[in-house]
């Protein structure tokens, strides 16, 4: 199937999110694809608050089925979360479980004023009542396939479709 151009989606997303950005907005990306996208948004908005990165491994709801992931990385939230508007960023919104885990983790850092969600692609098929504030595009992806963002050595983003690994 034809996948949309991730760079173009990213540019469009930045334009659409920009009006909602305030001086104290903080951007948090979900590792790995969401963190790359968050880097772009953070740079485009020239925010003074440093970029936050979450690795949601310790909050996943499939821990008791599939265990801890092999390369867990530390989360970094180098600012006070309390009363701050948070822009949460991920590459692909699917079941909503990752976003639930990320929101749980954010609340262990503090009580944000609000959380908005920006994603590059919404592939539908939600299993939780979660929706994105902004999504670059909607795309139906066949079941059992994994859609994710990849970044090449030059830092260019693209979408890739692969077989999902059995849990």
């Amino acid at each position: 199937m034809n996948l949309p151009d991730a760079e173009q989606l990213c540019t469009d997303l930045i334009d659409r999110v920009r009006p909602a950005i305030t001086p104290d907005t903080a951007v948090i990306g979900i590792r790995t694809g969401g963190a790359w996208l968050a880097e772009r948004l953070h740079a485009a908005f020239a925010l003074s608050t440093p970029l936050g990165i979450l690795d949601i491994s310790f909050y996943r709801d499939d821990y008791h089925r599939s265990g801890l992931h092999n390369n867990v990385q530390p989360s970094r939230v180098p600012f006070a979360v309390d009363d701050r508007p948070i822009l949460l960023v991920d590459d692909v919104l699917f079941t909503g479980r990752t976003i639930r885990a990320a929101m749980n983790e954010i609340f262990d850092y503090g009580r944000p004023a609000r959380i908005d969600l920006a994603v590059l692609v919404d592939r539908g098929e939600r299993q939780l009542p979660i929706s994105a504030t902004w999504s670059g595009t909607s795309l139906a992806v066949p079941q059992g396939r994994l859609l994710r963002l990849v970044r090449n050595d030059e830092g260019q983003l693209s979408l890739r479709l692969s077989e999902a690994k059995a849990a």
Partner: protein, 315 residues
């Protein structure tokens, strides 16, 4: 032969010893611990991984510090922790070890943290429990204390990054030290090119060369150019026993003073598993000095124990 610490898929099933623990598993524990260090620095120091699980601390031998760090680790993973003071309970009434385990398993224990004066006690329990129950050895006799060895390895990696260029000197009563044995196995597996042991010949095991270490009889030879110095605790009973003339004599030859520390590299770090005998194996000027990482070891110990528990508790 099947490694009793791993399940059929190669995942960590029990942590009994660092001997024979695959390098990849060790690195996974250290990498995961690095993420838990971040968690322990937050206001909310808890993650939900072991919610609903019960961790039983079975300390047949006293150790307030180790038991406390396991308790904190389990609680920060949201587990329920039950501490059993064995000396005042059933064993004192004559119940066998495995009967005690069966009874606690009937109370739906998910994980046992075991300290026992008998080498092999944790192995025995691990062979006995059902496959969903996990055992962590928190020290058995002279044999092993794997989480201490791993937290020492974590501390070394934190300050020195790469094991493959390091000289590590372990000083003291290696013969009776499960801490030393567990650290030596961890360091050699992780690729440390030179591990030295230094101590009086009465306190070095005769087969020590087999562990892949270099034996040094005096501090001048042993500390020269070292990146890491690990001081072992001199047990009280050893000070009065037949293997040493006296604690003062020992301190003179093997106690770490600022003068002896100066033989090592200028950026060498000093470690000690605690509790310290100030003035015997280590001088206060060193223990409280700028090269000491003894207190960070304690902090990292919690993260390493969280990592081990979280890798065990998922299956």
């Amino acid at each position: 032969m099947k490694n009793p610490q791993l399940d059929a898929q190669g995942r960590l099933q029990h942590l009994l010893t660092t001997e024979g623990l695959p390098k990849a598993v060790m690195e996974q524990i250290l990498d995961t611990a690095a993420s838990f260090v971040g968690v322990t620095e937050r206001d909310v120091k808890k993650v939900p991984l072991l919610r609903g699980k019960s961790v039983f601390n079975l300390f047949f031998e006293n150790s307030t510090r180790t038991r406390t760090t396991f308790e904190i680790a389990a609680k920060r993973l949201s587990a329920d922790v039950i501490n059993l003071n064995i000396s005042t309970s059933s064993t004192a009434k004559g119940e066998s070890l495995l009967d005690t385990i069966d009874n606690l398993s009937a109370m739906h224990a998910d994980m046992f943290v075991v300290r026992h004066a008998q080498s092999g006690a944790a192995h025995l329990i691990a062979q006995h429990v059902a496959s969903h129950v996990h055992v962590i050895n928190a020290g058995d006799g002279r044999h092993a204390h794997p989480t201490q060895g791993l937290l020492d390895a974590y501390t070394i990696r934190h300050y020195k990054q790469d094991f493959t260029r390091l000289t590590v000197a372990i000083v003291g009563d290696v013969l009776h030290s499960r801490v030393a044995r567990s650290l030596i196995h961890a360091l050699t597996t992780l690729g440390t090119p030179e591990v030295r042991v230094i101590g009086p010949s009465t306190l070095l095991p005769t087969e020590v060369g087999r562990l892949g270490v270099r034996v040094c009889r005096d501090m001048r030879e042993g500390l020269a150019g070292a990146d890491v110095i690990v001081m072992l605790r001199l047990q009280n009973e050893r000070m009065k026993g037949p293997l040493l003339p006296s604690a003062q004599e020992y301190a003179k030859s093997y106690g770490l003073t600022p003068e002896k520390l100066a033989l090592a590299k200028p950026d060498a770090i000093v470690m000690h598993p605690g509790p310290m005998n100030r003035g015997v194996e280590i001088d206060s000027a060193v223990a409280d000095g700028r090269q000491s990482v003894i207190l960070p070891q304690v902090t990292f110990g919690i993260a390493v124990r969280m990592a081990v528990m979280s890798l065990l508790g998922s299956h």
